[in-house]
């Protein structure tokens, strides 16, 4: 069983396999399930992701009305063709937003690695799909590669906003997505690790400060930027750019930053954007009462 990214990359290289294959083999060993079962289970999760994105692209509104409709706005903007960044990156952002809008509307999603960060991995997957034309099997592999990196973060740091801030949620999701994009685009296991490191480095310190404690503001837009971050980092790694700080050390830094982050900034709705005048006003409006500052 791999315990860190270095071991994961070493396993893949020594056996001349992809990260996704190592993850599938480990899952078979740990659970005693057959390879077909494990792949079938991931296929089911992929279907849930596809349905969530489709639903979000038709336009949803959350129960509070705080979020919804932005995925549609961005798709319409892309169709006009006057965008400044790039079509794939904006498509990834739009699909990430779609998933999180469905999540905020208490719809059905697949946590990757959490619900609050569920947009990044499917958003990037379905956007690069248009560019790389993967088979169904390769799309499933994308999720195993993302899962392998998430597995390391979860066991060595955290994937919980309450424990480690948003860097642990959207930061982890973006790193996982970047690594999976690289593998799908034909990059090496090392390049996957570089992409993860570059992404996570740029999400370090990100706090979890949801307005009114809801997984809406700023979570939906953090998923948007997580997807954008993952796309750019994947391109950088594929270009041959390396992270000076090894991936495992970045993950460790993320853990330590999370430990020293004040509780007010770890999913308690007490600090950051949640504590702004507008954040407080929204909170009071949604819950129909003035809320005390705890």
């Amino acid at each position: 069983m791999f315990r860190n990214v270095a071991e994961l990359v070493e396993l893949a290289n020594s056996q001349n396999k992809k990260i996704s294959e190592i993850m599938i083999e480990q899952e078979v060993t740990v659970t005693g399930r057959s390879k077909e079962e494990v792949i079938g289970f991931m296929d089911r999760n992929l279907k849930v992701m596809e349905e969530a994105v489709e639903r979000g692209l038709k336009g949803v509104t959350s129960v509070t009305g705080l979020t919804g409709g932005d995925a549609v706005l961005l798709q319409k903007y892309i169709e006009k063709g006057n965008f400044l960044s790039g079509e794939t990156i904006l498509d990834a952002v739009s699909r990430a937003v779609a998933t999180n809008e469905v999540n905020a509307a208490m719809g059905t999603i697949c946590a990757t690695p959490t619900a609050g960060s569920a947009g990044v991995v499917p958003g990037t997957l379905f956007a690069v799909k248009k560019k790389l034309h993967p088979t169904r099997e390769q799309m499933i592999s994308f999720l195993f590669t993302a899962g392998a990196f998430g597995f390391v973060v979860a066991n060595n740091a955290s994937i919980s906003g309450a424990a480690g801030g948003c860097q642990a949620e959207v930061g982890s999701a973006a790193g996982m997505a970047a690594a999976a994009i690289v593998e799908m685009a034909g990059g090496t296991p090392e390049q996957c690790a570089e992409a993860m490191a570059i992404t996570l480095k740029n999400m370090l310190g990100l706090v979890c400060d949801p307005v009114a404690g809801l997984v809406e503001v700023p979570c939906v837009k953090r998923n948007a930027m997580g997807a954008a971050n993952a796309m750019v980092a994947a391109d950088m790694a594929l270009a041959g750019i390396k992270s000076r700080i090894p991936c495992d050390e970045v993950i460790d830094a993320m853990y330590r930053i999370g430990q020293s982050m004040p509780t007010a900034l770890k999913e308690t709705a007490q600090g950051g954007l949640a504590a702004t005048p507008t954040g407080r006003a929204l909170q009071a409006k949604i819950f129909g009462m003035p809320l005390t500052e705890k």
Partner: protein
């Protein structure tokens, strides 16, 4: 290692909006229900830390109650769980606690009916994964990811061996096991995670063993 499966990371499939505060909360409730063995008539649910601060926004309340109604994390009825529970006559009370717990997402659930009650403490550690850390005053560590047997027994020699022997007779493999007690020589709790679901005949047989007081199971 806290996380063992890739599906702890890519998954669960769930009703939004939060894996820890919605899906994890539902799982804690469902483990309580599974251990209680029937639908409770009342529930007192204490929330700590981030759970206490943000439960309304995350649907933690409906999710825990959904779990008590035996709904899975992707069951759309979770959204209306409190209404459904009230229709079925379940009395529910939520308590926002100020006390600081080791883990920010902690819930203490006390459920019961005229035949008995059960108290457990669960934590939601991220991505929908949970641990039950206390049951009826016993400390334990239970993930709820595997079928499990919980055996309350007298703290005497041979009690563990007799349970293990019975499991061996039924060709049941033990994946993880731990024993916890409040005081030496009094009551103790065996937590045994196994690979397959256990049938009731085995549970009945275990209950007949000397020094065994009560056996409950968690199904996968």
């Amino acid at each position: 290692m806290k996380y063992r499966s890739v599906f702890d990371i890519i998954g669960p499939v769930m009703i939004g909006p939060s894996s820890s505060h919605t899906a994890g909360a539902a799982r804690i409730g469902r483990v309580a229900r599974s251990l209680f063995g029937r639908e409770p008539k009342w529930a007192n649910i204490s929330l700590y830390g981030s759970f206490a601060q943000t439960y309304k926004g995350h649907g933690t309340d409906v999710a825990i109650v959904g779990g008590l109604l035996d709904f899975d994390t992707d069951d759309k009825r979770i959204i209306k769980a409190i209404e459904i529970a009230e229709e079925r006559g379940m009395k529910i009370r939520f308590i926002e606690e100020d006390a600081v717990t080791d883990h920010p997402n902690t819930a203490r659930i006390i459920i019961g009916d005229h035949n008995g009650e059960l108290e457990l403490v669960g934590i939601s550690i991220g991505g929908g994964k949970i641990e039950i850390i206390e049951l009826n005053g016993f400390e334990l560590k239970l993930s709820g990811n595997h079928p499990a047997i919980l055996v309350v027994h007298n703290d005497r020699f041979g009690a563990i061996a007799s349970v293990a022997n019975t499991l061996a007779k039924y060709e049941i493999n033990i994946g993880h096991m731990e024993v916890s007690r409040k005081e030496v020589g009094k009551m103790a709790l065996m937590t045994i995670e196994v690979d397959q679901n256990i049938d009731d005949t085995l549970i009945e047989e275990l209950e007949q063993l000397p020094n065994i007081l009560k056996v409950t199971k968690i199904v996968d």
